[in-house]
Symmetry: C2
Subunit: 202 residues, 2 copies
DNA sequence: CCTACCGATCGGTAGG
DNA sequence: CCTACCGATCGGTAGG
C-alpha cells in the first residue's frame, strides 16, 4: 500500500536523520530499512529535501497538537508550572529522536528553524509568559524574572538535556552499572528543581 | 610552510564541521577554502576521521588550558559563581563554532563524547561541586541543590544557548531590526539570573 | 633517504 | 512502483 510505505519511509527517515544527521543518511539506507528500493522512495518523496521537510513538518504538527493539551495543565499557582515542565520533558523523552532532530535542524538551517519556531511556538510562549506575569503580579513569582526569556530558557534546557543526555552519565556516573539511570534521574530532578527555584519565591 | 598549512586545515575544518556537520563537508571543500589541493590535506591528515579527531582534540585541549584559568575566579561567595558562569558563556561565545562542534559530536558519537567529556571535564565538575557544597555548609546556597547535577545543568544550558542562539530571536524578537541583539541579551541575562536564583538564598 | 607537496586517477556511491 | 542509468562527486591512493 502506498500510504503505508510513505508513512514508514517518513518514520524511518525521522529516526535516521535524528541519529546520523541529514547528510549522514543516504536515500538508499532509508529505502533498505523500509524494505523498498530507492526509486520507490523517490516516487513518494521526489527529492531528499522534500523528505526532510516532510519529516520536519510532522514533528511540528505533532507539537502543535500536543501543546494545547499541555497548556491545559497551566492555569495558575505553583504545581501547574511544574506540571508543564514535566510535560515538556515527557514530550521529548517519549521520543528523544524528536529532540535530536530539532537540535540538528537548528544547527544545519538556523534561519529556516528560526522562522518555523517563531510561527509554531510564539503564541504559546507569549501565553505562558502571561501566566508568569500574573504570578509576578500576585507576588508568587520573583519580580526580576524575564517572562518570555524564562520560558525560552526552560525549553532550551529541556531540549538540550533530552537530546544530549550523554553529557551527564559519563561525568556523574561512577564506573558501576547502576550509575547511568541514577545519573539521568539526578539530572532531571535538578532540572525541575532549578526551573522552579528560579521562578517562585520561597 | 608545512606546520602552517596543517594548522590552517585544522582551523578551517573546525569551522566547516561546526557549521555543516562532519558528513556535510567534503575534504575537497576544506582544501579549497585553505587554498591547497585535497592531496595536500591528505598528506597532513591521512584520513577524514583522523582530521575529525585532530579537530576535536584541539577543542578539548583549548578547554583544558582555559578551565583552570576560569576556575581561579571561583573561591567562594556570590560574585564568584557569577563570574564563572560569565566566563563559561564568554568561552563559548568568543568561538561559537566550538560549542556547535561539541553539540554535533555529542549527537553523532555519543559514546565517544561521553568518554572524552568524562576524562576532560570530570575533575573540574567535581571541584566546582565541592565549592557548591561549601556554600551549602555555610548556608549561602540552598540545601536542596544537587551540586554535580547543578554544574552539569549550567554547562548544558550555556552550551545549548550559545550553539543554538537561533531559538530565541525568532520568538522573542519583534519584526523590527533592533530585536535580534536585544533578544540575545535578554536571553543571556535571564540565563545568568536563573542560574544564580536557583543557587543562592536571598 | 627525508619533507612537502603535485596532477591524475582509483573503486564506489551519492542524489536524481 | 521498477529497470536502467546519468553527471558529479565522495574519500582515499598511485607514481614521481
Amino acid at each position: 500500500m502506498t500510504a503505508d510505505n510513505a508513512e514508514q519511509i517518513r518514520s524511518v527517515a525521522t529516526q535516521l536523520f535524528a541519529r546520523h544527521g541529514y547528510e549522514g543518511v543516504s536515500l538508499q539506507a532509508i529505502a533498505e530499512r523500509v524494505g523498498v528500493t530507492k526509486q520507490t522512495l523517490l516516487y513518494h518523496f521526489p527529492s531528499k529535501d522534500v523528505l526532510r521537510k516532510a519529516v520536519l513538518d510532522q514533528v511540528f504538527s505533532h507539537w502543535r497538537e500536543r501543546l494545547p493539551q499541555m497548556l491545559e495543565a497551566v492555569t495558575s499557582g505553583h504545581g501547574r508550572f511544574d506540571a508543564l515542565t514535566r510535560e515538556l520533558v515527557r514530550f521529548f523523552e517519549t521520543d528523544a529522536d524528536r529532540a535530536r532532530l530539532l537540535v540538528r535542524e537548528l544547527l544545519d538551517n538556523p534561519d529556516e528553524m528560526r522562522r518555523m519556531l517563531a510561527e509554531n511556538l510564539r503564541p504559546w510562549v507569549l501565553l505562558v509568559a502571561q501566566y508568569v506575569r500574573e504570578g509576578q503580579r500576585i507576588g508568587l513569582i520573583h519580580a526580576d524574572v524575564d517572562p518570555e526569556a524564562y520560558v525560552l530558557t526552560v525549553i532550551t534546557l529541556v531540549l538540550a538535556n533530552v537530546s544530549t543526555n550523554g553529557i551527564v552519565e559519563g561525568v556523574l556516573g561512577d564506573s558501576g552499572g547502576s550509575g547511568v539511570r541514577a545519573a539521568r534521574e539526578r539530572q532531571q530532578n535538578e532540572l525541575l528543581r532549578l526551573t522552579k527555584a528560579a521562578l517562585f519565591k520561597r
